[in-house]
């Protein structure tokens, strides 16, 4: 089974600063991997690198079969990213935003309604400009804009931050559902108790390197067995 993400001693520079100083990480399809570690350890950079937004300056980086050192553009439509930034137009309504991002992602704008249902956005909220939404509603709208494109690799940067309990359960259920359908999820989080409940594997990052991997002592087949059941 070819790994969705294969990073080997990958170095990534942000300007002059080596955000990643040699990351080794392999993620298989269907896995839900939690990236944990102190702030500034490089978690977000790993996510952005996998999304093709940051260029690997050294080492290997292959995501969804695409070698990022050669081409960072072709994987982007297959990847869904959600971070602190919503990536929505404040002046447009939620529905308009989701429909636009659907069209932009090559998906059918009609699916926008379904995506907004899945994130449980109230009908009233959908016609409000994003500007007037609460943080939780913004996050749901941002999630809907990502869902509608049906990405194969989810890259979430602290998805639980600033959400109420209901919204967090929703995020977890969506993540698990996506994983069961074969999508792969890589997310960074500080809320370890909740995050570890949903993650199938925990990877610790510090100083721009992977320093711990809960699946390390499990050999691949064992992982497959437990995960497959």
């Amino acid at each position: 089974m070819e790994p969705v993400v294969h990073l080997h001693s990958t170095v990534a520079l942000l300007g002059r600063f080596p955000a990643l100083a040699g990351v080794d990480l392999d993620v298989d399809p269907g896995e839900i991997v939690l990236l944990r570690g102190p702030n500034g350890a490089g978690k977000t950079t790993v996510l952005r690198l996998c999304a093709g937004l940051v260029a690997p300056t050294r080492g290997e980086a292959v995501v969804l079969g695409v070698d990022l050192t050669v081409d960072r553009r072709s994987i982007r439509p297959l990847v869904g990213m959600m971070g602190h930034a919503t990536g929505l137009y404040d002046d447009l309504t939620v529905a308009e935003n989701v429909r636009f991002w659907a069209r932009a992602g090559g998906a059918d704008p009609a699916d926008a309604g379904a995506a907004m249902d899945r994130v449980e956005l109230a009908a009233r909220v959908r016609s409000l400009p994003v500007e007037r939404l609460s943080a939780g509603q913004r996050r749901r709208a941002s999630l809907a804009a990502m869902l509608v494109r049906r990405p194969r690799l989810w890259l979430l940067d602290e998805p639980h931050a600033g959400l109420d309990a209901a919204a967090r359960d929703l995020v977890d259920s969506l993540v698990t559902e996506a994983s069961s359908v074969g999508a792969t999820v890589l997310f960074a989080s500080h809320e370890l108790d909740r995050a570890e409940a949903v993650a199938t594997r925990t990877v610790t990052i510090s100083g721009g390197m992977v320093v711990g991997d809960s699946a390390a002592h499990l050999s691949a087949p064992v992982l497959e067995a437990t995960h497959g059941a």
Binding site: V11, L13, L14, G15, R16, F17, P18, A21, G22, G37, P38, A55, T202, V203, T204, S206, G207, G208, M209, V211, G212, D213, S214, A216
Partner: protein
């Protein structure tokens, strides 16, 4: 293998000049002296232009050098985008900067020449206007280059502005030419270098060559200064990576 601490700057050459540039520098100085001599002493005033032709010996070469530098800038910019090479990026910057200095000079000298020929510092003459526009466009180029950004981003941005500016040179040239020709008080000069002959023509050609060499000499030195600045930053990368790895605090390894 990674050089942990940048080696103290050993004795090595201590400036951007090298044997090649010293020779070129000497040739330039001699050339300038000879041109000056010719311009002021050997050649007489022009039959129609009078003494103002002596300004032409400075005005024409600087504007020609500036144009060549801008074309070089465009060439390097294309190469930067195509091959993503730092060398071309820095070379484009050097060319543009020397080019802007030359364009600035052309404007000042052109104004003086205007003052002499038409009694007014600024005349909406086709060449002067075009030069002024190009000067502004390349000041914009240097402004874009001045923005704080990672080197790769800065290189791409500047390359795009460089290419865009170069694409405009013919358009600006043509439109201003048309525009100036619409005006009644067509300048007496017509073409920039009237068919002066004899040693005046030689002086002009001589000063063209000398100013070209001066431009090349300046660009080389400017390039090397940029190269040094780049190296200064680059040296830090390996050290930064080691520093970064050392930063790894003893975070409890995954269960």
């Amino acid at each position: 293998m990674t050089e942990s601490v940048p080696a103290p700057p050993a004795v090595g050459p201590t400036s951007t000049s090298s044997r090649g540039t010293r020779v070129l520098g000497a040739v330039c100085l001699v050339g300038l002296a000879v041109t000056g001599l010719y311009a002021f002493v050997v050649t007489g005033p022009d039959v129609r232009l009078g003494n103002s032709v002596r300004i032409m010996y400075v005005h024409v070469p600087t504007v020609t050098a500036a144009y060549c530098l801008m074309i070089a800038n465009a060439g390097f910019s294309i190469y930067t985008l195509w091959k993503k090479s730092t060398f071309a990026d820095l070379a484009a910057h050097a060319c543009a900067e020397v080019g802007v200095v030359m364009l600035g000079l052309t404007l000042v000298v052109g104004a003086i020449w205007g003052r002499m020929t038409w009694g007014a510092f600024w005349v909406w003459d086709a060449r002067l206007t075009t030069t002024a526009l190009l000067f502004l466009m390349y000041v914009g180029y240097l402004a874009v280059r001045g923005l704080p950004a990672p080197p790769r981003v800065r290189a791409t941005r500047s390359a795009i502005v460089g290419i865009a500016a170069a694409c405009l040179i013919p358009v600006v040239h043509k439109s201003v030419e048309w525009w100036a020709s619409l005006h009644q008080n067509e300048t007496v000069l017509g073409k920039v270098n009237p068919n002066i002959e004899g040693n005046q023509y030689f002086t002009l050609m001589l000063s063209m060559v000398v100013f070209a060499l001066v431009a090349v000499w300046l660009t080389i030195h400017r390039f090397r200064v940029l190269w040094l600045t780049e190296q200064l930053d680059e040296v830090g990368v390996d050290a930064a990576i080691d520093e970064r790895r050392a930063e790894h605090t003893g975070v409890e390894v995954g269960r």
